[in-house]
Structure formats: C-alpha cells, structure tokens
C-alpha cells in the first residue's frame, strides 16, 4: 500500500531547479531512505511531503503529491491538518524551552482541549514508546533544553508521536548524535515502523542500509534509482548509484 505517492514533482528556488520531475511511492509502514550527496535535493523532497517548503520565499512547486489519494498541492488543502498526519523530525534536536511534559503535550494541546489526566496518560504512553519514560519520569518538569542531546532528539520524536501522525519524516535525525545514540534512534525506528510510515533522509549510507526497506538515490535534483534497499546496496541498476555507494564520489 502506498502512503504517499509523488508524481512529476518539480521544485524551483527562484531560477534554480532543486527537484526535477521526481516520481516515487512511499510504502505504508515501511522505512524508506533517501540518500545522495549534499545538495542533491533529498531534504527538499522530504520537505515537500508536508509542505514545509511553503515557508521559504520564492519556492515554486509543480506536480502531484498524493497522501491518502488526495493531492496535497491541490488548491484549498488544509496544510495545518496535513501536518498533523505527516510530521517531521529535524536535523538538530529542537525541543521548546519548556518542560519535558509541556514539550510532549504541545501538539496535543494545540489540537484539542484535554483533561489533565488524559493528557498525562498520553504523555506517559508516548514517552514509553520512545523508551524515555524510565529516564525522564522523575524529570517531567525539568526544562527540555537542558537534557543531553540524544534525549532531546528522542523527546522530539516523542513530541511527534504523541499526536499520532501517519507518516514520520526524518531529516538526518542522527547527524548531531554520537554512534551509541544513533543506534538507539535506529532501534526506535524499527519499532516505530510497526505503526508509522517513515521516510528518512540520511548522509550515512550504512544507516540507510541498516534500517530501511526501500532506498532512493538522488543526484542533482533527480531521483536516479529507487528500489528495495538490499538491491540498491548490492546490485544497483544505475552506474551512478554504484559509484556513489562504493564511495567513488559524494
């Protein structure tokens, strides 16, 4: 099943074309990795999926992105509603300068009035889902920005899954973290994919190989090759993919 389907997507920043006619499908409850050298457009593609590129001045997008068979670029799309279902984890951990509890509760409070008991239950459940509960259950009122970096990033993931999106977009979520923390996040991703569709952009090819089911290789705004991760990393069709994954450039 497709969670998201991208058809003929092109994106211009002013006169620069950052995405060139991209076609790809992201499978439900699978992890799809987007790899490629810096500036290849992988983060740009990711940010098209919840329309975060709308915030940038001078961006022009053509093509279709279907989420649950509805084009999110059709006029009249409720972007706020879309982002409830297609959430994002950013490169730098970016908790709000609020308490741990208020961070996790942020999205919930935005979306509906809730009794404190109900809110607490969801906060606890979400922290348990990301494995933070045992470490943070006595620190719920501490300021989140004072936590160690990897806990901050896990907290950002917690904050997102508290609102139960359908799709989680991850933009190099481990690039600020050490290998041990990275392993923790990867472990969590494998757990999360039982419930969520995940698309991850990564610089780290080994990471893509370890966690993803599907991989797409991008170069200069084009999606060169898209296939099962095993295939991409062992027997790619395109010579450029081959050259990139064997480290000939990038």
């Amino acid at each position: 099943m497709n969670a998201i389907e991208v058809k003929n997507l092109s994106l211009h920043y002013g006169s620069f074309q950052a995405l060139k006619n991209v076609n790809v499908q992201f499978q439900e409850k699978m992890i799809t990795a987007l790899i490629g050298p810096s500036g290849c457009g992988k983060s740009t593609l990711l940010r098209c999926l919840n329309r975060m590129n709308d915030l940038i001045e001078g961006v022009k997008i053509t093509g279709v992105v279907n989420f649950r068979d509805i084009n999110i670029y059709a006029p009249g799309t409720d972007v706020v509603e879309l982002r409830r279902h297609v959430g994002m984890v950013f490169q730098r951990p970016n908790p709000f300068p609020l308490s741990v509890f208020d961070n996790v509760a942020y999205g919930l409070r935005v979306h509906q009035e809730m009794k404190k008991i109900q809110l607490s239950a969801i906060v606890e459940r979400s922290l348990q889902a990301t494995g933070l509960w045992d470490d943070l259950k006595d620190k719920l009122s501490e300021t989140a920005t004072e936590l160690p970096l990897y806990q901050q990033q896990l907290l950002c993931i917690t904050r997102l899954i508290a609102i139960e999106p359908k799709v989680i977009l991850m933009d190099e979520p481990c690039s600020a973290l050490d290998p041990i923390a990275t392993a923790k996040i990867e472990e969590l991703m494998l757990e999360l994919k039982k419930k969520y569709t995940i698309v991850i952009v990564t610089h780290n090819m080994q990471q893509a190989a370890r966690v993803s089911d599907y991989s797409g290789f991008m170069l200069m705004g084009e999606l060169i090759e898209f296939n099962k991760t095993g295939r991409i990393f062992t027997n790619p069709d395109d010579k450029r993919t081959q050259d990139y994954i064997t480290g000939r450039f990038g």
Binding site: G87, M88, F90, F96
Partner: protein, 278 residues
C-alpha cells in the same frame, strides 16, 4: 616617526579606561549631587501630603500619582499597539518596501524632539478633540512618543526567537497564530519588556510634552479628563519659577530613586527570564 606598538597599546588602554572612568564619575556625581541635596528633604510626610503655597511647602503626593497614572495610560495605549505592529512586521509580512517604510518611519518618529509631540498632542487632543489638559491627552501623547521604541524593540525581540522553534511548531500542525502565541511571544517577553521599561523611563522623565497636554494641576485626579502634574513638571515649575529649590531637589531625588528602582527591576526580570530560557 612610528610609535612603538607596545607604547601605543599602553596609551590607548589608558585613554579608553579614562573615558570609561570619566563617564562613571559623571553619572555618580549627578546621582550623588541630587541625592545629597534631595534626601534631607525626603520623609514620609513629603511623599504623602499635598503641596501648599504652589509647592513652597507641603509634599508632592499628587505629582507622584500624576506620574504613575500618566505613564500607565501611555502604556495601556502604546503596548498593545506597538507589540501588535511588531508582530505583524516580523511575522506576517515579508521583508520589503512596506517593512522598510514602517521601520524608517518609526526611526524618524523616535528622533523627533518631545516638545514637537507636545505641540501635536496639544493641537490634536486638547484643542481639536476637546479633551482639554487631561490625563487622556497627556497619556495619548506619551503613547505616540514611546510607540517607535516599543515597536522596534519588540520587533527585534520577536525576530530573535529561533526559526527552528517556529518550524517545529508548524510541523506539529499548529497554525501560525498558535505558534506565535505559544512559542514566539513567550520567548520574546524579555526583549519586549526591555522596550516597555525604556518607555516607562522616558515617560517619567518627560516634561515638555506633558505641560502642553496634561497641564499642571496640583489636585489629585478623579477622572481621565482631569489635569495632572507629574514629578518632572513639578520639578521644572518649582525651580524655574524659583518657588522652592529645596522641594525641587526633594522631587528630583524621588525621581532618580524611582528610575534606579525601575532599571534594577528590569535587570532582575531580564536575568530571570533569560536564565530560564537558555
């Protein structure tokens, strides 16, 4: 001839430290001068009783009340307007001609001598709108005067909130206004407060604009349409008309102490907020 860099280094350190020292000495000289002349006059009676014989005797109670009420009225108008404009400038319109014009206008407005505001307030509020010399006329004039400061400092404060927080709030499905209300404004509070405190200082110290618009009545006001006299105006009249230098210094001492207290409070608030946020 080239001066030995080590020598020039030492000369400059000396010159710069002297400049800093001199600035401090001037500041302390003024404060000590005012306080030494004013504090002997100060007592509870001076603060809590009405003046008599035009201020030659008695206390300064109505001028304290006038100062506070006028400043308060100015803030009631200027803060919502200024902070609102700042949010609009920083968040809702893209950088371009409009923002440049507004900013340029605000900067020009900030540089206009206060007596011009006074004249403007006199003509508009006192005469045309028939509000008379009153708290309302004076407060509105002061509000216009401090508006540019509030807009510019609030705008900077709003802009200094990291983009990543807005981005993540939007990505969690919050609307722009929810993001501003829950993320941007709380984190911009210290900066906004700074602008407000600067404005309070300016309002308290203002004389010219107030004589023109709020008058100089020595009664305790009972409505917004009453005339009041602020401490600064009182000081001006007492000294200018040679009524009582002793009571003028007493008033000045209260003013100086009040301004110091406001600044200290501001530092304390800022310190607390920034500590929590970083």
């Amino acid at each position: 001839m080239r001066i030995d860099p080590k020598v020039s280094q030492r000369i400059m350190v000396t010159v710069l430290s002297l400049a800093t020292g001199l600035a401090l000495v001037i500041l302390f000289f003024i404060i000590i001068f005012i306080l030494s002349k004013g504090i002997p006059v100060l007592n509870w009676k001076f603060l809590s009783t009405f003046p008599s014989k035009m201020g030659k005797a008695g206390g300064i109670l109505p001028t304290i009340a006038g100062t506070f009420i006028l400043t308060l009225v100015a803030l009631v108008f200027a803060v919502p307007l200024g902070v609102g404009a700042a949010i609009y400038l920083a968040e809702y319109i893209r950088e371009g001609k409009t923002t440049k014009i507004v900013r340029f206008g605000a900067d020009c407005l900030a540089g206009i001598p206060s007596i011009i505001f006074g004249l403007f307030g006199f003509i508009l509020f006192v005469v045309i709108l028939k509000m008379g010399w009153s708290i309302l006329s004076g407060g509105l004039t002061l509000a216009f005067m401090v508006l540019p400061t509030i807009i510019r400092t609030s705008e900077e404060a709003v802009k200094s909130v990291p983009y990543s927080w807005r981005e993540v709030s939007l990505s969690l499905g919050a609307t722009k206004w929810e993001t501003i209300r829950k993320v941007v404004l709380p984190n911009a509070v210290p900066g906004i407060l700074t602008g407000i405190i600067l404005s309070v200082g300016r309002s308290i110290g203002e004389t010219a604009a107030i004589i023109f618009t709020a008058g100089s009545s020595l009664r305790l006001p009972t409505s917004l349409f009453d005339s009041v006299r602020t401490m600064s105006v009182h000081f001006y009249i007492l000294s200018r008309e040679g009524i009582s230098m002793k009571n003028a210094y007493g008033t000045a001492a209260v003013l100086v102490i009040l301004i110091l207290a406001i600044n200290l409070a501001a530092y304390w608030i800022l310190h607390r907020f920034t500590k929590r946020n970083t």
